[in-house]
Symmetry: C2
Subunit: 201 residues, 2 copies
């Protein structure tokens, strides 16, 4: 046995495509499945199949959802004049948890990354523009909430350039020192952003 049986290698190969899994962690997972009873695997397979069957994309905001349109787009109590543009559906939950935001969302499905072939047409940008143009209630503000990193920043810049002609307020999440951090250990760009964005008390 200089190598694993073909069946194991095949699963190792599929596992290695999942984010965050290296060859060693994939191996540990395969042996975990082998150690567990069949019930565990059956349940896992069922949950995964159900996921792919039941979870759809909202036709308005492109969030993940069981019903279309999604819970947020259907909610009449939300502020329909404001759209928060985010990269991935995961970010919706993070913003919702703050309890600060009552508007709508628009999920781009990623950020611009020419190296990985993610060009503007791969993201839901033209859908955003036509959504703003055809919205029954006029959109007053677009909050761009992509990550403050290279790809997030260039996506924000691209969006700003293409949304400017629509003549609505465009804002971006504040950049500065995270809560609980120490200025001593903060990087220069973060401190520089905190200075630029300083608030009058």
């Amino acid at each position: 046995m200089k190598t694993y049986p073909e069946t194991i290698n095949k699963l190792l190969n599929t596992l290695s495509h999942l984010p965050g899994l290296g060859p060693k962690s994939a191996e540990r997972i395969v042996f975990h499945f082998l150690k567990q009873d069949d019930k565990f695997t059956r349940e896992f397979v069922k949950n995964l199949t159900d996921l792919k069957k039941e979870i759809k994309t909202c036709s308005q905001c492109f969030n993940i959802t069981v019903n279309d349109p999604c819970f947020i787009c259907q909610d009449t109590k939300r502020d329909c004049h404001i759209i928060c543009v985010i990269a991935e559906p995961q970010d919706v939950l993070i913003i919702e948890k703050t309890g600060e935001y009552k508007g709508l969302f628009h999920i781009l499905g990623g950020v611009l990354n020419p190296v990985e072939g993610i060009t503007p047409d791969k993201l839901k940008i033209k859908e955003l523009i036509s959504r703003i143009k055809t919205s029954p209630t006029p959109i007053k503000e677009i909050i761009i909430a992509t990550n403050p990193d290279l790809e997030g920043e260039s996506t924000a810049m691209y969006l700003t350039r293409h949304l400017k002609p629509l003549n609505i307020k465009i804002s971006r999440l504040a950049k500065g020192l995270p809560m609980g951090s120490t200025i001593e250990y903060a990087d220069e760009v973060t401190v520089s952003n905190a200075l630029k964005g300083r608030q009058t008390l």
Copy 2:
């Protein structure tokens, strides 16, 4: 959406049982499955189901195998007088890759860990003893190759105590400085082991 749909939570819960996955990495995997086409999931499910269907345990050495007895136990060119006792099937491949070992293996299926309820009867220890006693070729040496940590050491001690009466040579993998390491940064126990196990040149 203060929380994910039930379907997602169910898969997140199953994923969190896999070794090495925290809530955040489980989330990333779920969203990866949602982003990929159905073919990816179908292939994953097939590979996982095949794994559980095809991979068995060798009735002699308890290694994972497609055929019983396994490749190594069937190989007539191997030295049948020597058995290397290891904790998990993964370790077989590591030892095989050295090309240094031509004997047989015996997989315990874990190490002693009373806190987690892994008592001697949970491991293939009595199977090892009866295998030694009933072996068609007399066993001349048992190499204990459990990890040099607390559980591995106590398993080795337990095995030694129970194998001594059989009157065969019992050995343990050498403990010392790993290749490429620096004595300056090695811990005391490692250096102490390297001293105790020093070899005459």
